[in-house]
Amino acid sequence: MDLIERYLAAIGRQLPATQAGDILGELREELLSRQEEREAALGRPLTRQDVEALLLEFGHPLVVAARYRKTQQLIGPEVFPFWLTTIQWSLAILAIVWVVLTAIGVLLGKTQADARHAAPDLIPTALTVFGAITLAFAAFERFGKAGFLRDWKPSRLPPPDRATRPRAGIVAEIAVDVGFIAWWQGLIRFQDFFPYPVHLQVALAPVWAAWHWPILAYAIFGIAADLVALARPAWVRTNTGLRVGRYLYGVAILVEVFRAGHWVEVGSPLISPGVLSIIQTNFDLGMRVGIGVAILGMLLQVGLDLRRGYRQRQAQPDVAAKA
């Protein structure tokens, strides 16, 4: 009897106070009826071990109490696929940003400790992202606000054409842009692991400061365009337009930056002006080639996007206007 009461008390601690008395009364009746049934079958009172076996059969108090809860799962089967996809995308973006930042650190020959200053700690950040997304979806589920997830239209699905941009590529591009913005705004500092001797100072020339905000806008616009491409892959014309617009904007910025002719400033109190001048020339030459290649790459991308958009439109008329 004592064991049964202890068992019921353990269940009761997990139940809402308003319902506990009712539920426990019913469970007590069930357990006592079962006890009587066994005693009748055995022809003797149950021993302590018999009662223990009976309660073990009945189930762990937490499990028994949990069956009376209104909420039986944190993320239900209807919301689960959306939760899983969001988790996969978010963790993929996080992993790419981390790998890029860490790879830069390792390539530049710095220690793991130095790399940590630039790359956020992967595990705590991943856990935070995982927890935040799970909490958000659990809240949608709990408060019955998950209806918007079922709001979909077949016309918004991506075209079956192979020329559609792969999602992994879009996600990777978002990750790179996030990393770039973090660096551009000074949230992470690659100069911490610059491979040159400490006495050589390398800084961006004033032309970059003059174009700071347009370049930031370029990266933000890129992320926005990629998010639209992820959310509405069927908006072929819109997505092509956003990408082409983005790259043309990028080309316009880079052409102006290119015209400056001087992009990096090196200085050192310990290096002779002659040697410093050679280093300066080499740095600027490298930048000239780099910016030139970037301009050509963007123009090539514009061509590829226009070709992809044309092929997709051939395969399926644009639905953006109707959607």
């Binding site: 009364g25 019913e26 469970l27 009746e29 006592l32 079962r34 009945f58 069956r67």
Partner: protein
């Protein structure tokens, strides 16, 4: 990590439980046309060939009562307080509709199985 493949017996047992799960509510509502308390209801169901775990039965009874399909009252019987359940008027209507659905489904599946045999 090695995952052992489920045996044919495991698969059958899982499918059997899935198949029976949906019909439990019908069996419970059907039995509660007569008044029962939890223990006798579970025994009556078992005798009729419908085994139900008490961990599933009692929460189900509360849910059905909250939905207005059952009524209940606490009464003393054999010197113990027991909660007696019975089908409400609304429960009778729902049971009649579910029984009709069950009959139609049973007939359809019977036809399908006969055709496949």
């Amino acid at each position: 990590m090695m995952h052992s493949m489920p045996t044919e017996g495991d698969i059958y047992e899982t499918l059997r439980l899935e198949l029976r799960r949906g019909s439990l509510i019908l069996a419970v509502l059907g039995h509660l046309r007569r008044e029962h308390y939890g223990y006798t209801l579970r025994k009556a169901l078992a005798e009729a060939g419908v085994e139900i775990d008490e961990g599933a039965l009692y929460p189900m009874l509360r849910r059905l009562e909250a939905q207005g399909l059952l009524t209940s009252e606490w009464r003393e019987e054999e010197k113990r307080n027991k909660r007696f359940y019975r089908l409400s008027d609304e429960g009778r209507t729902v049971l009649a509709r579910l029984a009709q659905e069950w009959g139609a489904l049973n007939a359809s599946i019977g036809d399908i199985l006969k055709g496949e045999a």
